[in-house]
């Protein structure tokens, strides 16, 4: 499952404006993919753990969350968590095109829908429509 999701995010998050993406698994392992030198994997790894903790904190405060978008001055962090507690985060530049934001939302929706037992790469039409990484 990890390989499938790692491959899926690496392939499909190559959207213009995306700075980095990553996954966090319930066993605390992570996968990081950087598309921008300012977002190196060594710095990203703890981010995904922290991101998973934020979902845990939301849950503790009885705040269910389907999708979360953390907005900073220069970047946005899109995040979602699946029912099997695998969590996904995508950093994108703050001034990305509106269609990119919509694409990322669709991508996260797709991430949540990938079957837990999936062993084959999931087909997505997003990469084709979204273009290459930055």
């Amino acid at each position: 499952m990890k390989q499938v999701l790692n491959r899926w995010i690496a392939n499909h998050a190559r959207v213009p404006g995306v700075l980095a993406c990553g996954l966090h698994y319930p066993d605390r392992t992570v996968f990081s993919q950087s598309m921008n030198v300012a977002y190196p994997p060594i710095v990203l790894d703890p981010v995904w753990r922290c991101l998973a903790d934020t979902f845990s904190v939301f849950h503790h405060h009885r705040i269910p969350s389907e999708f979360v978008r953390w907005q900073y001055q220069d970047a946005h962090l899109y995040a979602a968590i699946r029912s099997d507690n695998i969590c996904c985060g995508i950093f994108v530049v703050q001034d990305a095109d509106t269609s990119v934001h919509a694409t990322l939302r669709r991508l996260l929706r797709e991430f949540k829908a990938i079957p837990a037992t999936s062993s084959a790469p999931v087909q997505s039409g997003l990469a084709a429509s979204a273009g290459g990484g930055r």
Partner: protein
């Protein structure tokens, strides 16, 4: 944290573990840490009263007051203190409870020396980490005013260090009276009022050392009253922020303006829009930079919401630690039946929960904005 020895306090009911930790950490730190230990929560609290601790590392299972309870206490009394949980019982339930009660990290006790090296390296990073934009200071249950009042009422002698990214200063309190204040080239009452008006930032109490001069004669009560007045005058009104035309931001401003009794020259929210927005809102809370509730609408459990805001405030900084993402603006949380927004702006924090009934969603939908997709999701 550079240039001085960091004080790190470990709290655990296992004396053998504390000995091990003291030896290992002292070895790793090479004199850059002073490692303190406490076998229970009471001893830990006593040490906290007499020392400026940079980081506290707490076990979960302890007699009488356990780790999560101690965290809650510390969150109220020392909200600025960095807190980490180190436990052999790293279950998901404890993890989420501790993180929700202000722990920065929830770590599992290692079984080998290499593991302790990792723990040390992690803690070093945490001790180094001081949010520059003052997120941590944005929400505080105990404000500068309260600390001053407590010190003065108890007739204490101390030095109160106030620090923000833009200014640093000190207030000298001797036998419960404010005798001197200094901030850059400012001194006396001017410095005191200036420090009092700073937004965000950190403050800490230090042992009293007599200042070179005495510049304040007024009673502390008069000083606080005048400081509050000076603050009010200086802070009103903030210039309107017309862009982006987001209903949440408008509501935020409207609530703030109505609270501070300032009448805007032009109405910021058209009546029908505001009414529609109000219909969509389930709950709203606004906190000041001191963590005080400024405005509350249909908030069933204010304390819990303030605790949540504190968590968001802390996590927002941790998430982009060492990343060039810029300062935090807001977090949007989409739920199956609604949407929740936490926004930190001009020293105030806004919490809004909206439901997504068809009519409400329509009211929230800004024309042509991608927010429409969020609201409509």
């Amino acid at each position: 944290m550079t240039g001085r020895v960091a004080k790190v306090l470990f709290v655990d009911d296992d004396p053998m573990l504390l000995d091990l930790v003291r030896q290992l950490m002292a070895g790793f730190a090479q004199g850059t840490w002073e490692v303190l230990t406490a076998r229970d929560s009471a001893s830990a609290l006593k040490l906290l009263q007499g020392n400026v601790i940079d980081l506290i590392v707490i076990d979960v299972h302890m007699p009488v007051v356990d780790g999560p309870q101690l965290l809650k206490l510390l969150q109220r009394k020392y909200p600025q203190l960095l807190k980490v949980v180190l436990t052999g019982d790293a279950t998901g339930a404890y993890r989420s409870e501790c993180l929700a009660n202000g722990a920065e990290l929830f770590l599992e006790k290692p079984r080998q020396r290499e593991g302790w090296q990792v723990i040390y390296s992690t803690l070093v990073e945490l001790v180094k980490f001081k949010p520059e934009s003052g997120f941590r200071g944005v929400l505080r249950r105990v404000g500068l005013q309260e600390v001053l009042q407590l010190e003065c009422l108890a007739r204490n002698s101390s030095i109160l260090d106030v620090s923000t990214p833009h200014a640093k200063g000190q207030v000298f309190i001797q036998d419960g009276e404010v005798i001197h204040a200094v901030c850059g080239s400012k001194a006396g009452e001017t410095a005191f009022y200036f420090l009092f008006g700073l937004k965000g930032g950190d403050f800490s109490l230090h042992p009293f050392i007599p200042p070179g001069e005495k510049t304040i004669d007024k009673s502390w009560e008069s000083l606080l009253m005048e400081a509050a007045q000076v603050c009010d005058e200086a802070h009103e009104p903030d210039p309107p922020v017309p862009d982006p035309p987001d209903e949440l931001e408008r509501e935020f401003e409207t609530a703030l303006l109505s609270k501070s009794s300032v009448t805007p020259s032009e109405p910021k929210v058209q009546a029908p829009q505001a009414a529609a927005f109000r219909k969509a809102v389930d709950e709203m809370l606004i906190c000041s930079s001191q963590g005080e509730v400024v405005y509350d609408w249909q908030c069933k459990n204010v304390d819990s919401r303030v605790a949540f805001l504190e968590c968001v405030s802390a996590k927002s900084a941790q998430l982009v630690h060492r990343l060039p993402a810029g300062s935090f603006e807001r977090v949007d949380i989409e739920q199956s039946d609604g949407r929740l927004v936490v926004q930190i702006k001009s020293g105030h924090t806004l919490f809004v929960r909206t439901r997504l009934e068809a009519q409400a969603a329509e009211a929230l939908r800004p024309e042509g904005k991608e927010e429409a997709a969020v609201a409509g999701a």
